[in-house]
Subunit: 470 residues, 3 copies
């Protein structure tokens, strides 16, 4: 008997002949190891290997995909246990939180969240009844009991998930102590860091000047000067590479880049460090730093990821009460053609450099990103991101990008998640959707099944390893 | 024998298994009453219950979907009986108009207009041959004869269409006499008004200052002052509520909103009333009034609809000759993320408020609208509007919005029409397309058929009633 | 036995019933003559009728679709024989070029290039094994041998391709000597020119002022004056019409148009001719010339094509080394609603004028282009262009444009190619994708099969002839 929460044919094309091809292609990639080159799991989990505390803490409280949807329908975040910035009272009973969540489960119909959670419920906890107010207690107890068992500790799950390598994301100011602890523990799991310098390259980041000063202390460079500041980055990247880093990651409001003369860049650095800078200065500095980081990548080989286009903290009242990452980040229209030109003029023709572009503006896939990646040797396209890490989002990405960029200017899948139990589900959705897309190409005779099988394997495994140099 | 103009399986997915599911889902919603919470039918029809005069007057002359298409291919509007602004001569023979229309019927291949008209021809007049020059006279005579019969009068059609409730749209300057007449007539049909204040909130509207003065006379408020002007709106909304209004409606060039201090708002009001205002002032005033109206909604419970993004009267020569609403309104790129922020900062977190957003820029569905509606408690997404009230438009809306906003941040269907006989056809298209979409989710195992049946019912009936508080 | 490179059902819908309809529709249009109203083949080929030299020169070296993809993956253009601007050394061995190309064939999986090339390999050279490093020499030798045979000379291929008429594109400065030679040769193939005035209407074009002076010499008009300049265009258009021209073509960075007073236009002309002009002047002048050309079209009947929205030569290092048209032209976001208004205000209501709009910004299909073309008598929509001349691109065009513009505001297919052997393949892809789309409409009962057959014929043949007046 199959578990109805995870039908073996889910996400495959309805047409029987196409479905057959999709099944065969999927059969060859289903069990490949997971390569997770970009994400936000907490390295402390792997270092300490403590149990997850309860179902609400695992599935509801930290997952902005989940609580934003309930919030949109009038549920207070306090009632879901989301911590307040001022430490004020919120719901502390995990079962009460779980019941509220379960009672609103229908809100997730048709969303990837329901796919991910059903996958976790079914594969990890053998649950086979849909979540609802009526089944809330049963699922709560089932999950809660399991979490107390050793095979549900982080390292055991890591191994069960068949993760070959996973990247976390840390600030240059992070001492990487959890990564050190993992390394020192003798455990065989491969967990690497990634260099995410937003706190020290974005003048609008809270505490920017202090962060830069702290970077100087950590590296022993004089970050009050432009050359010292750049040297500090170079040193810190080396340090990150010692803990496995193969990439840097950059989350900017836009894709704007700059390529100023050293003198002009130095003057700009002095302005932003003084705090007497305009919004345009901040944007220019972030843009200049993308080009500087690309130059550093030429030297040290880190792959560069650019994640632009999110209007962060759109809801100031919510931000004040609960802080960042509470579901109030909204995508905006994003230009790449003009924005990336200064960086591309500088390094776009370097075949030894890899810059992976992401977007939250799907109108750029076919118009801008695929033509750029289908030309510049340094560019690759990242997988569908955030709201678009979804069956329809992935399908649109392939349909819009492939004809111009092909498959080999893309880099396989990123789960990009903080939600540990969703990792296998997300990779599985990606493999299924890619196989469904490839099956369509096969039955419409745009690809032979042999070619499709090779591409399926590349998309599920090889391209991520190669693009991220893992 | 089925009528070939309305095949029972129309708009269902071709795959047999998916089609079966769609048929079953549709079978459960096909006969639900029509809830029409937003539209532009003429309340006079229901008040006077006079017969429609002839086929051309019913189907061609008032329908800009129809005559714009013929105009695009060189047919003069005069020859279709469209009245000239100067009262100059136009075709007056309805049969001649009908023949011209019929001779160009092929232009509508692949358009929703052909679906709507074929539905009306078949279900209302038992016509079962395609329209063409050859069949023009036959269909003309069939329809013309029917229109003279009592069962084709507006109230009889209203009942035949199984309309549970329909909203019309009136200006604050309207005395609602036809709504009063309907109420006084003792007829049981539920026809409600909606508050559409464009003539008194848009400084660019013809006769704006005079309109505002007239609003003062009607309400007994001093609309020469900002506070009197706001009070007049409040009073008038109460009056509209007496005639069933549960919503206001706002058709602006953009989605721009403002949230100025009372003093600044008052100064702006004085500028726009003086006529000495800039284009930016007009835009700011419209934006400020959206926020003011949202605040009034918090008090009086009217649901707020925002219909932005149409470049009205793009063709000045045509506008001069024939006036507004002649098919020359063209959608434009529309921003929501920055534009709505002032209003959302003010009232976006109010769970008791409902603001329904529409768009003519489909690139915003997944990028802006679904993330906004999937977060802010006050926001809901209206159905595909105008050019997108079509099978492919509806399909794109579900594919682009559902994964992020879910189904329950949407509000069911609006027919939004002036074309009375198209109402059942439009709701039927919507029900079919939604069932087709849901059937895809079922056969790809993203939803169980039980869940899909519940959602189908919600989309066809319940959500519109709830969102519009009808 | 079917050749696996060109499966007879390729690009048809997977659903068996839909596929059957598509097959029948396609069967009726497959063998229609090719009408190629817009493209960039070299008239010298038809005039001289010399053999193509070798496989690399035919398929790789001149095709930016091909070499840009290899370049994006790190292959140097020098190694593909692409000539350097400075005449420096590049690979000259066609077999070495062919082997490099073949070794990277997998990059084209899922792209239209693989469809086009497989079609040419199979139908022209009877190749039935996929290209790869292993088969490179075999295919090279097969093609090379064939090219030496008389039936592979340009005129023979023209006839074999069943081309009824083909348009090339020439600058007003071109003497059309190859067109004259074709005409004088007595050969029956119909090859016409088209008027592409970019070098003399774009102030940013290399050598603009000299080009305008040269136009004066050619026409005997004083092109140092605005009136003389306009007169020169008029004369030159007459000359082009003698060589069959029925259209002009305009490739601008944006769709901006202007309609200045004669005095202001004259002053602008003087500024751009002096070289003392701003970027805004150049944009205004290009825009003004679109309106001037539209007025000339009213007189001389040339159909006007506007191809806006490409950021040309995005990669300056590559431009410097190899020149134009090397795969570094990137689409940009394009506005039509405001940009075209001056031109449309002037001539948009003229039913005797035909302006064909193209786009590289698919977000405008449904939002801007279809509503404009579904209203203005002078407007028609060109087929999917460049990156979108592809199965998914064509499908999106129909899905996004048809419901608002219908089929009859579109103009059939353009191959728009420099790659002679791809012409039959491109028209075949278009016919297949249109038949697949129409078959979907038939099985979802939006169109009868009779209607679909008529539309298929119109899209494959009639509309191009009519719209281009060929």
């Amino acid at each position: 008997m199959t578990n109805p929460l995870i039908h073996p044919d889910r996400l495959f094309p309805p047409d029987p002949a196409t479905r057959d091809v999709a099944r065969r292609l999927y059969g060859e990639v289903r069990d490949l190891p997971i390569v997770s080159p970009h994400g936000h799991t907490d390295p402390r989990w792997y270092a300490e290997n403590e149990p997850f505390s309860d179902p609400a803490a695992l599935f509801v409280v930290p997952d902005h995909y989940v609580f934003r949807m309930l919030y949109s329908q009038g549920v207070r975040l306090e009632d879901l246990g989301v911590p307040r910035a001022d430490g004020g009272p919120v719901e502390t009973d995990p079962r009460a939180i779980w019941r509220r969540f379960a009672a609103h489960w229908r809100l997730f119909r048709g969303t990837p969240t329901s796919l991910w959670l059903n996958h976790a419920f079914a594969t990890l906890f053998d649950i086979d009844v849909p979540l609802s107010a009526a089944t809330a207690d049963l699922s709560y107890e089932t999950i809660d009991a399991a979490l107390k068992r050793p095979e549900f500790r982080p390292r055991a799950l890591f191994e069960r998930f068949n993760i070959e390598v996973i990247a976390t994301t840390e600030s240059p100011l992070d001492d990487l102590k959890w990564h050190r602890a993992i390394r020192d523990s003798g455990w065989g799991g491969r967990v690497v860091t990634a260099y995410r310098p937003d706190p020290v390259v974005d003048p609008d980041f809270e505490g920017f000047a202090g962060n830069v000063a702290r970077l100087g202390e950590i590296t022993g460079e004089d970050t009050a000067t432009w050359t010292g500041y750049l040297a500090a980055h170079r040193k810190r990247r080396v340090y990150f590479k010692e803990f496995g880093a193969t990439s840097s990651d950059h989350g900017h409001p836009s894709a704007a880049t700059m390529n100023m003369s050293p003198l002009a860049a130095e003057a700009l650095f002095d302005r932003v460090m003084s705090g007497n800078h305009t919004g345009a200065d901040a944007e220019a500095f972030r843009g200049q730093m993308l080009t500087e980081m690309a130059r550093m990548s030429l030297d040290d080989g880190l792959v560069m990821q650019i994640h632009p286009g999110s209007y962060r903290n759109h809801n100031p009242a919510l931000f004040e009460r609960f802080g960042r990452d509470k579901g109030a980040d909204i995508p905006t229209r994003t230009d790449y053609v003009r924005a990336l030109k200064p960086l591309l003029d500088a390094v776009g023709n370097e075949p030894g450099l890899t810059i992976i572009l992401f977007t939250l503006d799907e109108s750029t896939y076919a118009r801008e990103l695929a033509p750029l990646a289908g030309h510049y040797p340094a560019l690759r396209l990242g997988p569908p991101w955030w709201f678009f890490d979804s069956p329809e989002g992935m399908k649109r990405f392939r349909e819009l990008a492939t004809e111009t960029a092909g498959f080999y200017n893309t880099v396989g899948f990123n789960d990009d998640t903080r939600a540990f139990p969703s990792i296998p589900a997300r990779h599985d959705v990606s493999r299924r959707v890619d196989c469904a897309y490839l099956a369509e190409l096969v039955v419409t005779h745009r690809l032979t099944e042999d070619e499709a099988a090779e591409v399926a394997h590349d998309l599920a495994y090889r391209l991520a390893k190669e693009a991220y140099r893992l």
